[in-house]
């Protein structure tokens, strides 16, 4: 059994307990739950309306700790694009959900760095495990998430760790403009992505 987007300190504890019993459970967390808190809802801006909802700073801290210690196996985006008329309304009428595919890696790097995982020797292997190897294993994908070693399919991403960038919803390839990170400056950009050796992204643009 796999648990989608765990979002509270209590649910991290429950997953930790279940794993300690030896049960076959796995769990995922979203980038936004690793970074944003319910204080943002005070703006009544529906871009921050999501299910499960944004939680408290204590929950964010517990989720980060759970991701680092392996209680939480994977990051999963819950990328949820919405048409403008469904999202840019009064709070109660707005659809739940946020986009996330284009910001996920940078947000996870930012969250882990804030949590003190800033040594590259710890950070990058952790990201490779939680955003590639383990989600591939949970999804039963034998051709994805493999180590970068001879014989593996050339599914890989090249990241410029020094390139900070500011999120502009108008620039997104997704039709959804509902990113909660609009205007934020995030670390690290994807320079290139290769799918079985074929570039899908080069120089940060569609190949």
């Amino acid at each position: 059994m796999h648990f989608c987007h765990v979002s509270t300190a209590g649910s991290v504890e429950l997953v930790r307990w279940a794993k300690s019993k030896g049960w076959n459970v796995t769990a995922e967390v979203t980038p936004h739950h690793l970074f944003l808190t319910d204080d943002l809802v005070a703006s009544y801006d529906p871009v921050f309306k999501v299910n499960p909802p944004l939680r408290t700073a204590d929950d964010v801290e517990a989720l980060r700790a759970g991701l680092v210690d392996g209680t939480i196996d994977a990051v999963a985006t819950d990328h949820a694009p919405h048409a403008l008329e469904d999202k840019e309304t009064e709070w109660a009428a707005a659809a739940f959900g946020m986009t996330g595919l284009e910001t996920a890696l940078a947000v996870v790097i930012a969250a882990l760095t804030e949590h003190g995982v800033d040594d590259p020797a710890a950070l990058w292997p952790l990201i490779a495990d939680r955003m590639s190897a383990r989600p591939a294993a949970i999804g039963r994908l034998s051709h994805q998430g493999q180590p970068l070693a001879a014989g593996a399919p050339a599914n890989l991403v090249l990241v410029d760790a020094a390139a900070a960038w500011t999120v502009d919803p108008a620039q997104s390839a997704s039709r959804g403009r509902n990113t909660p990170f609009a205007g934020r400056t995030l670390p690290a950009r994807v320079t290139a992505t290769f799918l079985r050796g074929r570039p899908t992204v080069l120089d940060g643009k569609p190949a």
Binding site: H2, P52, T77, F96, I127, A149, T191, A192, G197
Partner: protein
């Protein structure tokens, strides 16, 4: 073999380690430089295995005004993903082989990343009757992850049957951790902020 999918990636740092050169021969990582490979100056760039997303809403079929397989998977590639799992809450719901095969083929045609459709656990995500789990698993889409996502499977007997059934092909159920009775009408996290803002938690 050589050509379009053969590369020499110079100066990359695999998982942030020491700079090295990675060789790709016809889509596969190899130890030595293949003939006819294209060169890519990757000086100082971190190399990671392509990212895999377990939880993506691509909205197609049904809400192509919000996202399509084409736009969603391009966004995924730009974010560093080489595979995404497309959730089942489309219109129609991905609860039969025909729908998951359609989404899988759209992903193949777009070519930005692998698209692995997630099958619904119950017909129409209604939580009453098991969907065609085996047919979706045996389809061209080879579905292995099943989820009713936001609707949740909250009938314990139905969940037990689904878990037993999935053992036949090593499938997995992804359950959204929520009880619908506890979250009826909820708008945000229940706590200090919900009390202050007057929103139901």
């Amino acid at each position: 073999m050589s050509g379009q999918n053969s590369w020499v990636l110079k100066g990359v740092r695999p998982l942030g380690g020491e700079p090295t050169t990675l060789f790709v021969d016809d889509g596969v990582l190899v130890d030595a430089e293949p003939s006819g490979a294209q060169s890519f100056d990757a000086d100082g760039l971190i190399a990671l295995p392509g990212l895999v997303d377990l939880h993506t809403h691509l909205r197609e079929p049904g809400r192509e005004d919000a996202e399509t397989v084409e736009t969603g998977t391009l966004a995924a590639a730009l974010g560093g993903f080489t595979a995404v799992h497309a959730m089942a809450n489309t219109e129609p719901v991905a609860d039969v082989a025909g729908v998951v095969e359609q989404v899988w083929r759209l992903g193949q045609d777009a070519g930005h990343c692998d698209v692995h459709p997630v099958g619904a656990v119950t017909v129409g995500l209604r939580g009453e009757q098991l969907a065609e789990l085996g047919a979706m698993a045996e389809s061209a889409a080879r579905v292995r992850v099943f989820s009713d996502d936001g609707k949740c499977v909250h009938d314990p007997m139905l969940m037990r049957r689904a878990l037993e059934y999935l053992r036949a092909f090593d499938g997995v159920i992804a359950q959204h951790a929520q009880d619908p009775r506890l979250t009826d009408g909820a708008q945000m996290n229940e706590g200090v902020q919900s009390a202050r803002l007057g929103l139901v938690g």
